[in-house]
Subunit: 343 residues, 2 copies
Amino acid sequence: MTIFNYGLIPMFLSLAATSVRAEPPAARKKVVLVIHGGAGVRASAKMTPEVKARYETALRDSLKAGYAILKSDRGTSLDAVEAAIKVLEDSPLFNAGKGAVFTHDGRNELDASIMEGKEKKAGAVAGVTRTKNPISAARAVMEKSPHVMMTGEGADRFAIASGVEEVSPVYFWTEQRWKALNDVLREEELLKKGRKSETAKPEHPYYGTVGAVALDRHGNLAAGTSTGGMTNKRHGRIGDSPIIGAGTYAENGACGVSCTGHGEIFIRNAVAYDVVALMKYGQERSVVEAAKKVLAKLPTEEGGVGGLIALDNQGNAAMEFDGDGMYRGTITEQGEIDVAIFR
Amino acid sequence: MTIFNYGLIPMFLSLAATSVRAEPPAARKKVVLVIHGGAGVRASAKMTPEVKARYETALRDSLKAGYAILKSDRGTSLDAVEAAIKVLEDSPLFNAGKGAVFTHDGRNELDASIMEGKEKKAGAVAGVTRTKNPISAARAVMEKSPHVMMTGEGADRFAIASGVEEVSPVYFWTEQRWKALNDVLREEELLKKGRKSETAKPEHPYYGTVGAVALDRHGNLAAGTSTGGMTNKRHGRIGDSPIIGAGTYAENGACGVSCTGHGEIFIRNAVAYDVVALMKYGQERSVVEAAKKVLAKLPTEEGGVGGLIALDNQGNAAMEFDGDGMYRGTITEQGEIDVAIFR
């Protein structure tokens, strides 16, 4: 009997260890803020340690900015989402704010949306060109207009009149994104002439959107998403990021969601709200399982369709994606940060 | 025993008669096309028989246009939805196409979306000003662009280049809508000066959107919605009509949906997709019950929040609204038309 017992204990310990390792470390503690900086990242082999470190630092800075608000007495999830996203918008690394990609016409047209889960209020802007932080413009629409969604010049005018910082459209010019547009345009020209591609395959044109979902001490969820859209998009194209229900959704009884990926597919499948609907109506009560199920239903594409982050009202975070990686991170109630890029 | 039997039969017959009377007549046969011309109609006492007859004729013409396609061998639900909506857009009676309301700046900015339920392809335009039939522009985005949603000048340019009929923006000027804008602007001025209202209460500013859902002989569903938005809307405001998931959705396994009402509330609640989600994930398998449940969850407003039409893949139609009326109608497989305005 003694021998038999000794035989079982190591087996039990080894099983327990496996099950702990299978869970992401942050999932064991209450997450209060989860962020993403887009899916569709380069293969890990192509990313230098220096570039990787820059991305990780930006993700940490974003998490810290949101956490500073959440741990204060009057900090709301809405404030934390806006603060975390502003850090990512101000970085040239992500396709949002400063680092936005160029449209076919060589412009930067930015989209963002924000939603709070208590009263399900929401705001969104699409195609703004003069608003430094589109996420703040989205929040102004939510809080200071009777509308949910505004586009173009009307959205810029409204945001700036509401006190959101104005910049010249040239603020959004970055060499890296300008080169990316020119690469794509050159490819198009070659294709038209029936010649073979000269440039290395450009980065996935859809990805790089940023987003955040936060849970505050009042139990309120909020979610937001911000993007520069897709390189070489035609004038006036709107992706999923500013669409409530597609790119962003928050409902206290279920979860908050922010998506990134091939926007058209996310709109057609109402992805953000679908995660919420699965938790509300379906048999799926786990936010991780709901997120996995919704992503698994999307069509497959070379390089992946995209990903999403979600956070439920118990502090369980999901960070799901179908490609090689997604810039992502969480911070717990205790301030423990976890950031990752690849699988 | 004989006496006992005789007593039961009349009771059974009377129950059966009651249950038949409780259902709308069209629901007993397979509906192939259901349309709406907006909720928020005037109280029945204020509508002359002549005006009522004009609305009913327009609804019948729309149903006939869609039906002519559905009964032909190659007729698709997508063609039927487009044809039915074009009739309503070309009528000055509804707030879509020709009869669109004016923005705060005295412009007509039109929105529309369309979706087919087999592959869940979708297209939408927002803020177009030079496209005669916005529903055809939405279809062009769906079929001829890699995008789902386009706005403003970019959307107009794309639609016209794709062969959709162009008109001068003055085509959309109608005396009735111009007067409505001026009434609202006068109200705003009076309110600013702290004086009492002079004009009679204007029509509900949100309503009048048109929409259609069709089921073809291949079992494919399609849905579409078109609107002029809300009177006095600020430049660049987008309502629910061009938002896939909010104003329009179609999924063969569940139903097609087109909404009308206070757009901001419909966006925040992802109303069109919510009906689909309830049927897919919830315990609600009836399209009428799903539509009722989704509408009942929306906040209440004076005059009503709005309404929606839905059609499932068995030909069961829902036409639900919370105000005094909704312009609406159905046509069955056999060509039987039923139109209604008030409760």
